[in-house]
């Protein structure tokens, strides 16, 4: 809850987030959360040949929400969709050196947003 429970890595991703923004010609977009709860994460994907060529995010939320969003984009960049689908919220938190317990369930949804974006991409391919 208190800020000093954030790891250095969390603070690094919060203050210098990677891959912020939108992708104009994204072919997969995923969004989770709700502003009422205080967290919304939106992930944009550019997929080519089943590989994530580009990924960007936009997040409304606390420090952990922004850091996990940033981290998930770093983890999936250049990965195949199968590899990306194996990345869990827990893995994102671990990559950040852990999150305060109170943040684990409310602000650790970045992998879910990324999975939603992949699902969106897949559903478009099947059409």
């Amino acid at each position: 809850m208190s800020t000093n429970e954030y790891t250095e890595k969390v603070m690094d991703h919060f203050s210098n987030p990677r891959n912020v923004g939108e992708i104009a010609d994204a072919n997969g977009v995923g969004e989770v959360g709700n502003a009422k709860c205080g967290d919304i994460m939106k992930i944009y994907l550019k997929v080519e040949d089943n590989v994530i060529k580009d990924v960007k995010f936009k997040t409304f939320g606390c420090g952990a929400a922004i850091a996990t969003s940033s981290m998930v984009t770093e983890l999936v960049m250049g990965k195949s969709l199968d590899e990306a689908l194996e990345i869990t919220n827990q893995a994102v938190a671990e990559a950040l050196g852990g999150l305060p317990p109170v943040k684990m369930h409310c602000s650790n949804l970045a992998a879910d947003a990324m999975h939603e974006a992949i699902k969106d991409y897949m559903s478009k391919q099947n059409k």
Partner: protein, 402 residues
Amino acid sequence: MKRIYFDHAATTPTDKTIANTMLEYMTTKFGNPSSVHSFGREVRKEVSEARENIAALINANANEIFFTSGGSESDNFALKGIAFANKNKGNHIITTQIEHHAILHTCQWLEKQGFEVTYLPVDEDGMISLDELKAAITDKTILISIMFANNEVGTIEPIKEIGAIAKEHGIYFHTDAVQAVANVEIDVQDMNIDLLSLSGHKFYGPKGIGAIYIRRGVKIQAVQLGGAQERNMRAGTENVPAIVGLGMSAVIAKRDFVEKNAHLVALRDKLIKGIQEQIPDIKLNGHPTKRLPGNVNFSFRYIEGESLLLSLDMKGIAASSGSACTSGSLDPSHVLLAMGLIHEIAHGSLRISLGRDNTEEDIAYTLEVLPQIIARLRSMSPLCAENSLGVTAKECKTCYKK
């Protein structure tokens, strides 16, 4: 990096003169005021003097002041002490939705003991309605407890008018004045206040000490039992160093009242104006004029409070927020919600509470840094791009906060 402290509603630094004096009362003048010998006598006199100084700050008599461990204990004492001492007369208490948790949680506990509590709503400025107060009064009402000024948004309630209504109906009136003492003129006679809570560390005194004013003749029972200290009203050896410190902070508050508050109001209004001029899509929370001299509270749309606090902290600015992440619960501030703010706006609130050591330079630096931080966080926010909060109507499928 220079650090700027903007969280005086949370706590203030203890005045250095006070802290130095307190040390003496731990090391050389360490006696127990209940003792007969000279060690006891020399501190007994100091405790009396502190009591007089506290009384003078709110125009009470010294024998109406009882020392406690702070605001929360005073609030508990007032509510429980009045409720149980007057339960033969009635079981109804009136308070507000925007009280501090020391009041709200005590009221909830009293409900479990069979008392009935009315929680008055507030308007969009955080102000109660006197008509709603009058309408809530029944022949079973024994206590009205309404805070003097709100800790989050700074709104000052119509205390004198409430006191008049309570007196007219023969109902006791308690006010949690923890944020108001030293910042607003308080006269318990003129305002018809029967009980009042105050806390030392909110006005440059030490932590762990406070007081409750109980008008002479009020029927109340002690909550903490044991020795005969505080005329049998609050057992436990007196915290002499802190009592001496509290007395000194009352003297300083009275001496510097006009000058200090003029300083705070000038800084406050400059900061409010600067933020309003530089940052779009904001809302000033709290009453525009009837507010504490040091309170600034804004909601910034499209961003979340904890991100904002972390960003400010990285720039050396210490403030607070009513967002869920900082309230320690899953919901944002109950005060902002009671004022009608929707959750997403309440999540993006920032409270800056100024103190006597803040300067014009602090305000200028904040007005330089804050717009950049807001712009950066908004550039990352999916809400901002859509420039609408329409998305929030959507049901939350993934969020665990239900």
